[in-house]
Symmetry: D2
Subunit: 429 residues, 4 copies
């Protein structure tokens, strides 16, 4: 395999765009990875509590997916097929139907968009507009849906929004669940939709994440999600759940909304859907809304064949019965307990998220950064989120063994102790 011997040690600084990001925080060079561990070219080993921002819910290089992928490549299995029929796509469709849709009583058509979450969101927003003949999409404070211009309009983060230097359009912003103390956000939505003079144009769609990953692990209550879904229906709008980060088991069930009594009109998926970290995205569409013409929304890499191979294994292996789901539940409870302990070091902290998608608002971005820095120096990759990066978030692979989780938590607790005891070191960050 290729080695780094020939590469200039300064090649990243010299040749990679300033847009590069995570590598600045984790300034080592990774070569291989397995399960819950990342390995560097210097032989160092890190526990991974980031998991490709939830793209590696099943850990790195799962042996079954790996074997299937090697078999496929070895047999000259087709690698790129545009959106032609392939045996592996058939297998994936069948598996998704049998393992995911049927047991949950769901009936969606699968649209393979370009293999990025943003692309799945763009397709969803376009489709909702086409179906309804309306232009307005309601999105929520702190939402993150991608940075291409259509999706970016729905994303709340000002740093990303300003990146485009063009006013974003087609989206009305309303407060997410529990956004403002003492304000019932669903009431705001209901009032504005019900008032012909509110200035909120009749919506094509209302789109939300049930847990806002980038927005700071804000978890919506089932009541809120349900009411939003009902209001969407009442007002002729499609209800879109962006399950790109919260889906694929991250909150405890395959879809993050399974236990909320809602059936979205459109669901977007990406990140862990391939199982192996390969680029793949999916837009699930209720049959009655499946009105795109052939290639009306297209893209060269829609339908990544290698990803179909691993995705099929992932679905069969982890979702054919309840075992995995039950494991996540137990680990989630463990996570809650340990984060509660961790949080105790930070006065005024807030517990955030649910399932294996939890974190702690430690009060400031500086404190959170100091925690993550300590962790990384002690063998743990972990990151922040939230409007001010003030939330230390745990995104461990769902397959992480309990003992490895505990090892990571121990490092976090050390970090909490050190950082909370020496606030002056934080200012130096």
């Amino acid at each position: 395999m290729t080695t780094v011997s020939t590469a200039d040690p300064h090649i990243f600084a010299n040749r990679e765009s300033e847009a590069r990001s995570y590598c600045r925080t984790f300034d080592v060079r990774f070569t291989k990875a397995k399960g819950s561990y990342l390995h560097t070219d210097e032989g160092d080993k890190y526990i991974d509590f980031l998991a490709g921002c939830s793209s590696l819910n099943y850990g790195h290089n799962d042996d079954d997916m790996k074997a299937a992928l090697i078999d496929h490549i070895t047999a000259d299995g087709i690698a790129h097929a545009l959106d032609m029929h392939t045996a592996v796509k058939a297998e994936f469709l069948q598996t998704f139907q049998d393992v995911i849709l049927k047991p949950r009583g769901l009936d969606y058509q699968l649209m393979f968009t370009g293999p990025t979450g943003a692309n799945a969101v763009e397709a969803a927003m376009k489709l909702a507009r086409k179906v309804t003949g309306r232009h307005n999409v309601i999105a929520f404070t702190n939402g993150f849906h991608g940075v291409t211009m259509g999706a970016l309009a729905a994303t709340g983060n000002s740093y990303h929004r300003e990146g485009g230097a063009l006013p974003l359009q087609g989206v009305t912003r309303l407060p997410y669940d529990n956004y403002i103390d003492g304000v019932n956000s669903a009431d705001v939505l209901e009032k504005m939709l019900g008032d012909a003079s509110s200035g909120v144009d009749a919506p094509a769609a209302i789109m939300l994440e049930t847990v806002q990953g980038e927005g700071g692990l804000n978890a919506a209550s089932p009541e809120f999600v349900k009411r939003v879904g009902e209001l969407a229906k009442k007002h002729g709008a499609l209800f879109i759940i962006d399950d790109i980060q919260a889906g694929c088991g991250r909150t405890g069930t395959f879809f993050s909304f399974e236990e909320m009594g809602v059936t979205p009109d459109i669901v977007t998926m990406a990140k862990s859907i391939s199982g192996f970290g390969l680029p793949m995205a999916l837009t699930l569409i209720k049959s009655e809304h499946d009105v795109f013409g052939p290639a009306e929304h297209n893209g060269t890499f829609r339908g990544n064949t290698h990803a179909f191979v691993t995705a099929t294994v992932a679905l069969k292996k982890f979702w054919s019965d309840d075992t995995f789901q039950n494991e996540i539940k137990e680990k989630s409870e463990l996570l809650t307990r340990r984060l509660t302990e961790f949080a105790g070091y930070f006065p005024g902290h807030k517990m955030k998220g649910r399932g294996m998608f939890q974190g702690v608002d430690v009060g400031s971005g500086e404190t959170a950064a100091a925690v993550c820095k300590y962790c990384f120096e002690h063998g743990l990759v972990i990151e922040t989120s939230g409007p001010n990066d003030e939330v230390v978030k745990v995104l461990a692979p769902l397959t992480t063994p309990v003992e490895v989780l505990e090892q990571g938590f121990a490092t976090m607790l050390d970090a909490a102790r050190i950082v909370s005891a020496a606030p002056e070191t934080i200012a130096a960050e």
Copy 2:
């Protein structure tokens, strides 16, 4: 590996969105592919003159790339790393610098965007707006740059434009080279840019493809491209060449603009950049314009590690010396000769494109479809492009052996003979 035995024969019709497209024309099920051939699950074999719309310039499952990729996976080489430093990314950067940039005297920073061409275009447009503080991007008639909302604004095709049901913004449309008989399109551009009252806002960028693939294989003259570049510079705009389809050797050189005497400020690449058909995209940026902040334009799958592995092999194998380039040149001449013969059957035809990116405007979409249908029935995958799908285009892998090319051409000539002799059959299409 996975077989289709378990999949319902109607699974595509039942579960895949109506947005599916190529599979409608090529209604078979592909399983494997090698070099210039596609194989179905029924044992049929097709010559591939489509090459994943130019994503497979080096053919299917190239043995060297395949070996490197299997090695990487076998060794648990990292599969997903967000934009962290990895050994394989270092190797790709180094190779791109040494093999591509240096010999051509070019000095670009590499930005790994989300792995779709559209995402590379979105990044390019956003960056140009950020750099200049202007909003307007000038794009050309019949251009195709993707279907996410930012890129879609620059795309000409009305079928795609209407897909979004939201007026597209931030783009001024001007005629491409030779768009209107007797009109010098560069004169139109020059006049409009030089007139403070033209209504064309000062541009952030002027963006073009040197050959418009989807637009009908319209090849711009070097004079036009050069003048556009000069006008961009004169008026403070960035010059963007979208080389997603025309790049990676398709026109005869690595970049499609190499022999035109221009150095764009930004170049977008995707399709064949991974060499193997894996999703990957790249935005090349002159250092002085490399002003995105960390993760200002981001995405989970930016920097597809598997693609870096195969891309590095592809660059080293095909671009370390002139051999490959010379082969393309010879094959291009052969292609021109055979297409001239083919075109002879269609009165009023027009020869289109250049290099291995050529085709024939046969007069109507119906005729072109009839040709392609005949070809497919006789073992050749070939497609159309153009505003009315009136251009039969040849996008064979650049590595296709001459004898296989000739076999494909022979089928095309048969098709031309049959179709041109029986125009009534076309109406039946």
Copy 3:
């Protein structure tokens, strides 16, 4: 003078666009008007509780303004001067400075925009964007600011918004004071502005009416207006008060915000500013924001000379001392008393507005229409407003003598009695 003898009785139906509106409700032909009365060509006489939607705060054909205008015309005083210097403009500027600005300690530059309120708003929004380099203007639910595309984006009414068939842009909509029971709207604004990830782009301006005339006579509390002003300042946005309908004494003081402890950066005026009902509009700008270049925002009829003549008289006559203001105060109290009586007939009613800008939400548009219909049949012109036209509003000239006011109120009470007693007649509307 021109008479109607030559006009076809069906000329309106035959030749005037379907966009015509008030004439449908008040289907008579007016010829002359004096003080608080409108006269028809059939010799009928109506008390005017509409006053040109607050464009006739000083009543019809005020004798002093009339004399000045006739003098001006008789002397061949200039009628149209673009924005050249004229003696009458000097006089108006001087008077506005001496009578309005100085006594209130205000220091504004006067911009004479095209003579419509919408034009004054367009100028204000453009200017705020130019001053701040930002694009976003925050406007409120139920706001009405005009129907040209820039102003329309800030207007809440969906009927008007849909009239343009183009998505409106550049405006974020937030709840007005007391919009939702139990929600402090200023808290919503504060939270969204203070959160870099809220999705509300940094605002160029926050714009509001202190009383929303078209929106249903919603009166903001001084606390709300003040907090909005402070938040605007804190976040680098200009604070715009649209005083087009609420200004010129309607709420009791010349500016509607005088007693609220705020000094807006920009104030828009129109409607009664000419005093005589002549088209005129004004945008008041703090000196430090007076950055439009010459004619950057222009228009042929900016600076209506005839209107300057009457406006100067109006300012001198009504605002040189407190007499008029005190009269309005007394009449306002009378109005409140009589509307309270009126409202008593409608269970669940709400009292709306303040000053001589009050009305009653009678529960439904049907009821309100029935009231107005009865009134018109009994010699009183009165109209509705609100999202569902559910508010019966009184917009009598501020100069209306008490006995005429009482006469109008008496008719309103009759209407209330009749309509509330026979709800079945309402359904027939």
Copy 4:
């Protein structure tokens, strides 16, 4: 009449916004005006070759209009009536029908928009979008249609376009007749409309001025106008002629397009429609497109009653027979002769415009400004237009007696002689 005695001599500089414009060039104070003359408060007298930018086609204070207006005011004729029926509106509608529409075989509905040209254009654009369900309006290089955001999108001038600091939308810009040497602009339009992949969205409307006043007195050929009209029809778009500046006789006939063999779907009028310089605007709509709902496009000052009085007189007095039209024709020929003489002083000059709407491109804005400055110093008000203000334009009242015209021309010729002889003085401007 009001006098200036009380006004501070610096009141304009101190209190009027920097947006003021013409007053900078013509820095005197006008008091009265009659026919073709403007008079200042210092007793100076100027010949008016600007005529309120064509708002005073019948000269200042025409005695018949003046008398009718004084009669109306004296009789307490209604001054402001929203869009209620009034006797004077009936009279105007009847007169417009009898004098203008019938003799020309035209059948339009009249919509009284807010009394500015921009407002009439906003209404036209909104209506075309509503009628067609499309968003795109095609406008032309160097067009001027107003500066409110909807109209501004159709205006070409960058100084005005940038005034809004918000990207303008909904308009595609194409070259006007004879815009580029050797390019047939109608061919460009035809090609782009006929190509589904051109990137020009199916238009709601195509809008043009037959002579572009602000754009530099560019006169379209009848062939161009006719072809544009035909292309609009063919492609399902409404054909809008903006006759605000070129209409009301300026080019020789009441409508500027009368002799071109076209019948626009919508015509916008303003400027001289009131006859007296009073604010008034009009949108003429073919019955089948008269689909605005009541007040869907509204405005307080729509239907300026005083303007109806004078407009009715103007139509009866000047357009009841051919006399006036014939006079304009003769004066136009005189104007052409004199301008040819004038132009002779400027090498490389271009004759511009037609009818009483002519001027000379003297090569540079500096030269044109020097000419106008000399003229003003010698008793003649005259202005420039064009992208670089390089056209000296004559906009004399159509009623100007020949001897006054000759006097003005004489001054212009003097200016030409002086300025062309002393080019160094121009640099000093």
